[in-house]
């Protein structure tokens, strides 16, 4: 199998079974997005008050961290396909740093709300960002596995392709979910 053939043929990224998890997660979060949209629709004043209490700058910083992490993971996969394992491993490690930055910023944000009375908006904020944060932590484990694989792999083969693609897809899912949460919780 040549590198060109791996890159160009039309195929499901990662293992096909992974997409049951990915699409299931998307479906669950779509319900969450609907709940937030419904709250916005039915209680616009209290929703706007809740939004005003959030640190939008920290939300923006976290968005930039996840976007950068995603670009690093996509670049790392490209480098792994070309057999540049050291550079690929470096990309995954930098993406892990972005993810850890996200967790740190989220901790600062949560600490800023400590002691505040928890109204309906803040309840949704904690539940949905908390579930998303659990996804970030799982994604960090995925990136650690990818970095380790790059340290062990000597050549690009089918198992390496499936594994690194799948781990990357999960990390990008985390980014994708945050893109929608950021708009709904902080901006819209």
């Amino acid at each position: 199998m040549t590198t060109t053939a791996v890159v160009r043929r039309r195929h499901v990224p990662g293992e096909a079974e992974l997409w049951i998890l990915v699409l299931g997660d998307l479906a669950v979060f779509t319900v969450f997005f609907g709940v937030l949209g419904w709250q916005h629709h039915t209680h616009p004043a209290s929703y706007a008050d809740g939004q005003a209490g959030l640190a939008t700058g920290l939300g923006l910083l976290n968005t930039l961290l996840l976007l950068t992490g995603s670009a690093l993971v996509a670049s790392a996969l490209t480098r792994a396909r070309a057999g540049h394992w050291v550079a690929a491993r470096g990309g995954y490690l930098l993406a892990i740093a972005c993810g850890l930055g996200f967790v740190a910023v989220k901790a600062v944000e949560y600490a800023g709300h400590a002691g505040e009375p928890v109204d309906e908006f803040l309840s949704y904020y904690y539940v949905f960002t908390g579930i998303h944060l659990a996804h970030v932590l799982a994604g960090l484990v995925c990136l650690a596995v990818a970095a380790r694989r790059c340290g062990l792999a000597a050549r690009w083969d089918e198992p390496s392709e499936r594994l690194l693609e799948g781990l990357g897809v999960y990390w990008h899912l985390v980014d994708l979910l945050w893109i929608v949460l950021f708009v709904l919780l902080y901006l819209a």
Binding site: V7, R8, R10, H11, V12, P13, W19, L23, L26, T30, F33, G34, G37, W38, H40, H41, T56, L60, T63, L64, L67, T68, S70, A71, V73, A74, S75, T78, R79, R81, A82, H84, E165, G168, V169, H172, L173, D175, L176, I179, V180, F182, V183, L184, Y186, L187, A188
Partner: protein, 83 residues
Amino acid sequence: METTLRRTWLVWAALVAATLAAFADGSVSGTAATLGLLALAAVKAALVIGVYMEVGNAPTWLRAVCCGWLVVTFGGLAVLLTA
């Protein structure tokens, strides 16, 4: 490889630009501003799915499912947030 890497970071630049535009738009209220925010988020989501998740190079069924998710999610939110 260089072409793919260049595309990856061009997409990143577009995603960052869209995020900053949304951040600026977030200080403006009204239906048009809300639709603008959702449109920017939809473009960002489509870029992440199509390029970073490589769904753009996936079989038709997966592209259709992801496209359907984008339409349902952002269409539904547009209705809820502006009605």
